[in-house]
Amino acid sequence: MKREMICVSCPIGCALSVELDDSGKVLSVSGNTCKRGEKYAIDECTNPVRMLTSTIKVNGGALPVVPVKTSKPIPKGKMFDCMAAINNEVVDAPIKMGDILISNVCDTGVDIVATNEI
């Protein structure tokens, strides 16, 4: 199996071509012009992760929502599950920067933390 992708490690944006076997193991990476491209391709094919940012509803604050983020990148495939958990949550003001608002969201081992004060 072959996968095409664009490397985002730097602004050059090399067009990468990744050869995978049936189990999803990376056999080869081509098209990259540096080592970071190879690592990016392998990560993207085996364990793609993303930072997720959103907002959570707040009671009794100056604003109706507080911005939040995952404390670490989460598996890309879990983004929408985590969004559902975030949208089910309501928290009370006051909230401080870095407060943990949901711990271990969707069993990812990652927390949802506040990124502003309300």
């Binding site: 992708m5 664009i6 985002v8 602004p11 050059i12 944006g13 012009t33 993303r50 930072m51 997720l52 940012t53 959103s54 907002t55 509803k57 604003l63 109706p64 929502v65 911005p67 939040v68 983020k69 890309k76 983004m79 929408f80 969004m83 949208n87 920067m97 990124t115 502003n116 004060e117």
Partner: protein
Amino acid sequence: MQKYDLVVIGGGPAGMAAALRAKECGVKKIIILERAATLGGILEQCIHAGFGLHYFGEELTGPEYAYRFIEQVEKTDIEVKVDTMVLEIRTGNIVVATNAVDGMLEISATAIILAMGCRERPRGALDIPGSRASGIMTAGTAQKYVNIDGYMPGKKIVILGSGDIGLIMARRMTLEGAKVEMVCELMPFSGGLQRNIVQCLEDMGIPLKLSCTVIQTHGIERLEGVTIANVDANRRPIPGTEQYVECDTLLLSVGLIPENELTRMAGILIDPVTNGAVVDENRQTNRPGIFACGNVLQVHDLVDYVTAESQIAGEGAAAYIKKKPRGRNHYVSVKGKDGVRYVVPQNINENTDKDVKLYFRVADVFRNARIIVESDGKVLYNKKKPKLAPGEMEYVIIKAEDIRALEKKELVVRLEVQQ
């Protein structure tokens, strides 16, 4: 009339970094005047991550990046007036402002730093035929609705323009349950960062239609759909390629314009390409003691660069306030040509004692082009870059001794493109 050493207009990342650096350089009485209710500027609504990779070496969200500077400002004796609108800069560096507490304010300043940021190009600038139905707004307006006010402005979205705010909002609206049908881009390439194309569009399965634009909006009360069409090399719609797309919301991400009303009123020279002031290497404008930095000077891709530029302006203002000896300014002029759209700063003091970073943008996507900086045929810099794109600001550093040694007081930044 109140007297300050330094008045900073705007309390976003540019204004805060400039004020803080001026304070570090020993300026005593500093005040920041901010139009919004809090410091932080546009970062407060940019809740996505990706800020600070250059400046802090870690990935922060917008509010987190702003908070680091707000905390620092609060630790100093820098005064801050929020909900305060600056109306005018009079001759003699007098700043006229107004707010609900003080009424009218007149502040006499030794130096002024302009840090008003930029705003989005609105629908009115595009002349898209159609009624004024609700549901048509800039991407930044939608960003405020979702991230600050906590509600969704629509369910079925088309985005015109692939600037970074549009790309970020494509992902944000999708994560919140909206269907983003497509992003249309007039140009044959995106003006957004590559990372955003991958992580905001490809991750979310949103098609990016290049050389494509919206030629008509439909709906009277509420937007019901748009007609899109492909465009030719001259950006004219190609007859026969029209397509109707049903949607209730059209987001515009079609460019940013530095907010320079005050600058123009003050008679400060404006660069017609950047739409920001013409400045020297200290970010001083042609009006002595008035400096400019951040997106009001040139639209940046990264806030990290805004911070760096604003620190230069803060230092420049501090030096001006201390009246460091520096007779009349004799400048080396800096120009871009052959694919280089503009260069900031536009002037450099001919006896500068600091190396100068020349920031510039290119007009098109170039591969393996050489960046050349020269003066009267003498080459000061010549380096090949694998890729240059209009969406990525570039810079080169020119040594102070090279600038001082120039015979002809002119520097040209140009590209040499391989055929």
